[in-house]
Symmetry: D2
């Protein structure tokens, strides 16, 4: 069997990443990619890495070929998947939304952050937040997946063992996060021009970023109580990679947190706990679905520091979406996701 | 009058930065630059930006011309200035050490971090920690300046108004800092090769970095009590710039911290407080002696976040050294330091 | 006396570079900067390097303050200076166009390359092509300067000594040129997004680039006959800098070209000929008005290779414009242009 | 059957790239990797992208496990493979030298460029220059492959159709080439530090680079006569990628060169000819074994310009080595080499 996949909103970096990864997938194939603006163009014209590799041609998102798919990936701005997902699901086609439409359980909260009404509360209720390391079972039975945001993925994996084992003070978590510029997308924008980004670094969204409610929601579920989180994202002068440096207080400073991480991820192929004294570099996971986590207890200040890195376009987007697809279709979890990271 | 300046250990990035800035200084001139390894070479051979600009030739650090200087800048690894500074001071020549030899008041503490004995405790006692915004008076009377480290400069300026006004909980300060790669120097080193640094980001020195005791010492002096600080440095894939994102708890969450910053730096030419909602970018201060500071109170978590940026080679090294020189010689503080930042 | 300068079209990289350089100019001051889109904004809001440095506020290009200037710099897309320059000149205000409107002597040829009619043929006839090393006298008497393009500046300076001394075959000149991305401007554009430019390199405009007719015109004037030129520009993943590698055939392969270069530029402050075996790096002239030139005769293939580097925003734009201003106002040629290059 | 591969000199970028590609190879496996300096270390300690991916441990180059291999890849400085290859070949183990020891047919010429005597003239005579598009047959029968250099691969593929069809003047070929910094290797070196390379561009080796004799040798074989070549390499501020812009004169300017390229590479999986007006970008082939070639006839100067891009670590090194291995073992040529390029 080959899973027939369709991509809606394929003109951005997530779209081309889905094509790249699915091209190497042994049991799936992209049969349709849509973009209103690029309708009729070959994918190789838009993404020259695909010249001679893929014969796909962009279609309209209304093209009937999408109804022949087994799964649809929405790689669209918020508000689009919300309107389009239902029709596919009704036809028995599974849906993964790589955007934000189904990530926040509470429709009102979603509206506050995204500035529009949520029109599909039933779908919202049905959607599964697709972090496989947390909801493997639910994902495998889901019809609709809310693929996690990139920052949330890095932060949630770094805190899961601590929260689930009740090891830290949940009221005072600080996540200082840094992202490569591909997270900002491929749309023309003065703020992400080469000359505006390179050789510089800055914080943004300090008073509140759209990934904040999503992270808090999931952390609170892990903790079983509301968490207090300060989340500050920063922009890095590089393409790919997220690093989260997280500061927490152990409830019992005599506890060694490391074994809890090792146990939590012992059977997780895509999460690697680094040795004592080794800190993760974003390049180590470039182009891969891995998350690498370093742990350091800082004696002089009694803080536990957890550092987590992912490739925002893979584990933080397209790779995780494919991981979810694999679970939904009951095939090998790691299918198509075993490429070794590109270094240097 | 022209101040005659000498640079010892001029083969690195701090050396060429001193030449660049002093070349534009209306009342100072570099008359000697030394480097054992480069003895006899023209500065333009080593630093091609100086071709046709400067006729300086590297001499030995033992060359007598250094005794004709009014001021000596040590841009050397730790341990060198400690041995050499005394002889100059005895001759009435002022000394600024851009290295670490005189930054930590306690000789034993210094030895613990730098792995060698401190041989000059009297000089250590005399040396003034040269952060002009904190010790302007002492600097102006000093014979020997310990020029602050780059990370400490960014962190100290960001916290001074809070600590001196007793606004925050001193026991729980987090400084998540990021530095451009020029901070690692110009010595051949696999870890700072282009292909190892670019397109990547990582934390380092998490369990303890040499700038930690220096920062804690100065923060504690500001606070009037020992502070608890977690300091995590990270390496940025860019040349120049330090950004510090600092997380603190206000003692009274109803207090607006902004006016304290504005008052503290109202008369400080080189520290700029940004408007509400504006966060500093390292590129804004590239090539300049400015520090830009942004302040954001995060309501949902009750944290105060302060973000501070400097150019590590200027305000974090050569520029601050010249600022100190200007104070020591009683000339205009900003002499030679008024160039506009290079953007983009 | 202080020269009062105005900038029209100040929202781009050339605008902020003019402000940066004129801020350091001992005899000039920017009193007005205009941009339709930014009218009313402080320059520091748009260019954060100017926070606390300049109090300038963007005005409309129709604002009367521009008529109080002694000189107007047009930093506008083609077609704008053509329409606006005349009114200033009539009022005795000098004009430097950093755009392309007056660079090509032949109005029809201009129209072919720029896709619009040239409406001011009289001004075109009057305008002086402002490459000081070639037309110092004419510039000093001019009312209207066509400031050379960035690629042309690098190529013309590299070939002047060869053509004026009739040393090479004029029919077969190849200029393989590479430019930093700041040459593409600050307008939002997918093609110059960080993620599209960084970690990549490509040729563009191979069949014909707008700087081609300008280069050919000036080379032919130097040679006294039409030249045959193949000019291929490439885009570099960096901010500033142009490098031109130029391949020519000596008419007499026994001739040593180097002395001709040394003689031609012996009295030119801003052109430096590098020693035998030394090749120029763009970073050596970053932030400066210098051009560095390397010369290598390749024995095995009988080619002469000339390599030339400039900072496209300084010697290739704003710096050269100020050099021209200095000549027009009879002040020191190098006024405001003596800052040392930023390295690293 | 699984081909057992060994890597000698695996501490550099070529070594980790061989591991990356062979990890994805369906019929080969790396069973040994050696490095004197890293003996006993896990590959993941040295290359953190391999943490949790590969359990390989560095051995000594004298370790007996290398004799159990079916093929040995030498990724060593020149002079090493020359001494070591013979013993493997005698045991029936195939050898691919990714270094330069067997690339130049003439031992004396080799000595002139590499500064040491060539001690194995018989092996030199036997070695096949492994550019599959040129010598597929010979490669498939070879015991010893001289894997082509990175610049030569880009230049030779760009000129093959022109020379083999006698379309151009062979006496006047110019190859202006640019390489990412990974080509300079992973050894600590001041010249390739991040701060020395980034934000800069320069030519090097202008009077003669070690890849020159190799390129001339192969071009002359294609042309059937000695060629005149001017080859100037440049260093790019990026990790991966080579671009060659090549200037030639058509013997008959009325001839359309494009069909010759299309025919030459119609059946070559790894060489793609771009459409008219499309020029190759290095990023399009990043992480892949592809070569993309653009062709532009420049009417106004009668030059034909060919632009060619490869990833220097893949088609210019490890990928081509694996392509050669596939041919030598009679398996699918493209095995292990079909990953889609990483973009962005």
């Amino acid at each position: 069997m080959t899973i027939k996949a369709g991509i809606i909103g394929g003109s951005g970096y997530t779209g081309v990443e889905l094509i790249r990864l699915l091209h190497a997938h042994p049991e799936a194939e992209v049969i349709a990619i849509s973009s209103r603006g690029l309708n009729g163009k070959k994918v190789g014209e838009v993404f020259p890495s695909l010249i001679g590799v893929s014969d796909l041609v962009f279609s309209l998102p209304t093209d009937n070929i999408l109804n022949e798919c087994d799964i649809i990936f929405f790689a669209t701005p918020h508000g689009v998947a919300m309107e389009g997902a239902g029709a596919f699901i009704e036809k028995g086609i599974k849906v993964v939304d790589l955007g934000a439409d189904f990530r926040i359980d509470d429709a009102e909260n979603w509206s506050d952050w995204y500035g529009m009404e949520h029109t599909q509360p039933e779908l919202l209720a049905e959607a599964v937040y697709g972090l496989p390391e947390v909801r493997r079972e639910a994902v495998s039975k889901a019809r609709l997946i809310a693929n996690p945001g990139c920052y949330p993925t890095a932060v949630l994996l770094a805190l899961k063992p601590l929260l689930e084992n009740n090891l830290i003070d949940c009221s005072n978590i600080i996540a200082d996060c840094k992202s490569g510029t591909s997270g900002a997308g491929r749309t023309a924008n003065q703020a992400t021009l080469f000359c505006e980004v390179t050789e510089s670094f800055k914080a943004y969204g300090v008073s509140g970023h759209r990934h904040l409610p999503e992270i808090k929601q999931e952390l609170s579920l892990m903790a079983g109580e509301p968490v207090g989180l300060t989340f500050v994202p920063h922009l890095l002068p590089m393409i790919r990679g997220i690093e989260a440096t997280i500061y927490v207080d152990l409830l019992d400073t005599g506890v060694d947190a490391r074994p809890y991480f090792e146990k939590a991820y012992a059977n997780e192929e895509f999460v690697k706990i680094l040795d004592e004294g080794v800190y993760p570099e974003t390049r180590s996971v470039k182009s891969t679905n891995y998350c690498q986590i370093g742990i350091q207890y800082v004696k002089h200040s009694n803080k536990l520091v957890i550092m987590s890195v992912i490739d925002n376009l893979v584990k933080g987007a397209a790779g995780q979406a494919i991981h979810n697809m694999n679970l939904m279709f009951g095939i090998e979890e790691n299918a198509g996701l075993l490429q070794v990271g590109l270094l240097p």
